[in-house]
């Protein structure tokens, strides 16, 4: 048995492998496993069905947010069309399941693949476009996909939407909140693991090089167009995969939710969570989903109490206001996001009582 590693009080890394290791200490590795086991074994039995619904939404959103973070946080290509790719995934899963009779696991994976393809098509403008221009091109992608989902009635059934069959895996019915929880969180854990390892591979390093200076990266021999496309593809794969899960979870989909507003929510997740941080994407998803749910609960509550029923309709927009305010405040006071807050809190515990 090898010796347990503890955090040294300085930088004593001698080898590159040590520098790119995911867990600096064995303690961290153990904690992650313990946390994961606790999460998977206790939460579905403790939480009620509404809480489980929120937790599952968080898990699905977190998968999509990780994908977006790979694209924006690591590769530096701003995309405003993430919700559209999410929608493509949802529709792909729905269509494959209803028309071709694909099983759950295959249609969700294929949804990811199809979204990746679509994402790469809309990533093509990144050959020549940068920064804001690319940002707008992806915005155009968002509107075009929205239009297609709404108007290609033969395939997407238009505004009426599609109803999915119940999800089954290995012959077991997994469409309930509780059983879907395990599916979502095992997928999330796998996706996190893949993302973390992707980032420390040569692909991840190429992405980061492109973000920091694409001309210099090209000069170093990185074929930037290929890597940008790859990044678009991976990011959309995550979105499409999450979209597929979501389609199975809600069991009926319409084109309505996949709007620019959802894209903006994803960006808000990764900014509030922390750019270029995988745990940050998860934190961001937790924050945004809970914020959304709390706000709609509050407005619902105000509407239901008889006192304010007269102005009931006009209270709902305040939800949007608070959402905007949260983003603004976060950007002003903690631009590096929740991941940074988490790091500060953790290190202040670790270093207590001497703060350096």
């Amino acid at each position: 048995m090898r010796k347990l590693k503890f955090r040294p009080c300085g930088n004593f890394k001698e080898r590159y492998e040590q520098d790119i290791a995911i867990f600096e200490t064995d303690f961290g590795r153990v904690w992650v496993w313990v946390g994961l086991v606790l999460l998977l074994s206790s939460v579905p039995f403790i939480a009620g069905s509404y809480t489980l619904y929120i937790i599952n939404s968080i898990g699905i959103a977190a998968i999509a947010a990780i994908g977006l973070n790979i694209l924006i946080g690591y590769t530096g290509q701003i995309s405003l069309g993430h919700a559209a790719f999410f929608g493509v995934g949802a529709y792909a899963a729905a269509i494959l399941a209803t028309k071709m009779g694909f099983p759950f696991w295959l249609s969700v994976l294929a949804a990811g693949g199809i979204a990746a393809l679509v994402g790469m098509i809309f990533g093509i403008p990144s050959v020549r476009l940068k920064h804001l221009y690319l940002c707008i091109a992806t915005l155009a992608g968002q509107f075009i996909i929205e239009y297609v989902l709404m108007n290609w009635e033969g395939l997407t059934n238009g505004p009426a939407g599609i109803i999915l069959p119940r999800a089954t895996l290995f012959g077991l019915d997994i469409s309930g909140d509780q059983s879907f929880f395990w599916v979502v969180f095992v997928c999330l854990a796998l996706m996190c693991w893949m993302a973390v390892n992707l980032i420390r591979s040569r692909y991840g390093r190429a992405f980061i090089a492109i973000r920091d200076n694409d001309l210099a990266a090209e000069g170093m021999g990185i074929p930037i167009f290929r890597y940008k496309l790859l990044s678009f593809g991976i990011s959309s794969f995550y979105a499409g995969f999450a979209g597929g899960l979501w389609a199975y979870y809600t069991t009926s989909i319409t084109p309505e939710p996949f709007t620019i507003f959802l894209s903006i929510q994803y960006i808000a997740m990764i900014i509030i969570g922390g750019l270029a941080s995988i745990p940050g994407s998860v934190f961001g998803a937790i924050f945004i989903i809970i914020l959304n749910e709390t706000l709609s609960r509050i407005t619902e509550y105000i509407m239901n109490t008889g006192i304010l029923s007269g102005i009931a309709l006009t209270v709902a927009p305040l939800r949007e206001f608070v959402f905007g305010l949260a983003i603004v405040l976060f950007l002003i006071f903690e631009p590096r996001g929740l991941a940074e807050v988490w790091r500060v809190v953790r290190s202040s515990f670790r270093l207590w009582p001497f703060s350096y």
Partner: protein
């Protein structure tokens, strides 16, 4: 044929309006390289400010106009001071996201106050402004938008090319530290550009309100329409904004008129993608000069 000409006139005037509202957008982008997602909301704020003054407070129209512009000038200043200034030096996407947050805030607030209903200004434009050729009728609001658009266009072209403040704004957009080192008051430039942009927004918001009535959703969706317009013309070119606006306006009305209304909504974006593939900096945008 008449249908065609009527569409042409409609397309041109809508295009001119897009161009006018794109001006404010270009203004902010030119000075501080910020992509303003709260643009449509600024339009709406201007339009509603005017509405309150004109319809509820019954202030004379000319005074309304002056007060709205003044109010929006101050508002732009305040927005920059409160929200944008703390973010100077942060990454592009964070500033973009901030404007997105602002957009949500403003929209929520306005919906809270005014609701999603349509409002109309009291009519005040002289009927003599409208033009009629045979069967084709150009309403006075369209003519007014044309005149106001041309006026502001000329004004801004002149401002950026010849006035010191205009040149400073472009200088700051190019290289902030160098501008600082030469004594350009960078913070003042930012504040000024937001203030002026808010004024332009107010003007276009009012004109839009005269043409189509005032509604929070309608006006804030114009804010997204502005993107294809400015990108088509090139993000930092004023003449480009005009041409872009007219192209988008024409495309939209013609597809809407001959094919289908919902396709008319997306056609600008489809064209946009193709134009960007051929000319990455838009039709008239300045090429980014890059050196490693």
């Amino acid at each position: 044929m008449e249908f065609f000409v009527q569409l042409l006139v409609n397309g041109l005037s809508i295009g001119f309006l897009y161009a006018l509202s794109a001006l404010g957008f270009v203004m902010i982008f030119k000075s501080s390289s910020v992509l303003n997602f709260a643009h449509g909301e600024l339009l709406a704020i201007g339009a509603f400010f005017f509405l309150i003054l004109a319809a509820s407070a019954k202030v004379p129209i000319v005074l309304c106009f002056a007060l709205t512009l003044l109010g929006c000038f101050a508002l732009g200043f305040i927005i920059e001071r409160l929200f944008l200034r703390p973010l100077i030096g942060e990454a592009l996407i964070q500033v973009i996201m901030l404007t997105v947050g602002l957009a949500a805030m403003f929209k929520g607030l306005m919906l809270f106050i005014f609701g999603g209903n349509f409002f109309k200004y009291p009519s005040f434009l002289p009927a003599a402004l409208s033009v009629t050729w045979g069967m084709i009728n150009v309403p006075s609001a369209y003519v007014a938008s044309f005149i106001i658009g041309l006026f502001f266009l000329g004004l801004f072209g002149f401002f950026f090319k010849y006035s010191s403040q205009g040149i400073y704004m472009r200088a700051v957009a190019d290289h902030q530290t160098a501008a600082l080192s030469l004594g350009v008051h960078v913070r003042r430039v930012f504040a000024l550009s937001w203030a002026i942009a808010a004024v332009v927004c107010a003007v276009s918001g009012i004109v839009l309100g005269i043409m189509h009535g005032v509604n929070v959703h309608e006006l804030s969706s114009i804010g997204l329409k502005v993107f294809p317009v400015v990108i088509l013309g090139g993000l930092d070119s004023i003449g480009g904004a005009i041409v872009g606006g007219i192209i988008i306006g024409l495309l939209e009305t013609f597809t809407g008129g001959y094919i289908s209304g919902s396709l008319g909504e997306v056609i600008p974006y489809i064209i946009l993608v193709f134009i960007l593939l051929i000319k990455p900096y838009g039709l008239f945008g300045s090429v980014e000069i890059e050196r490693v």
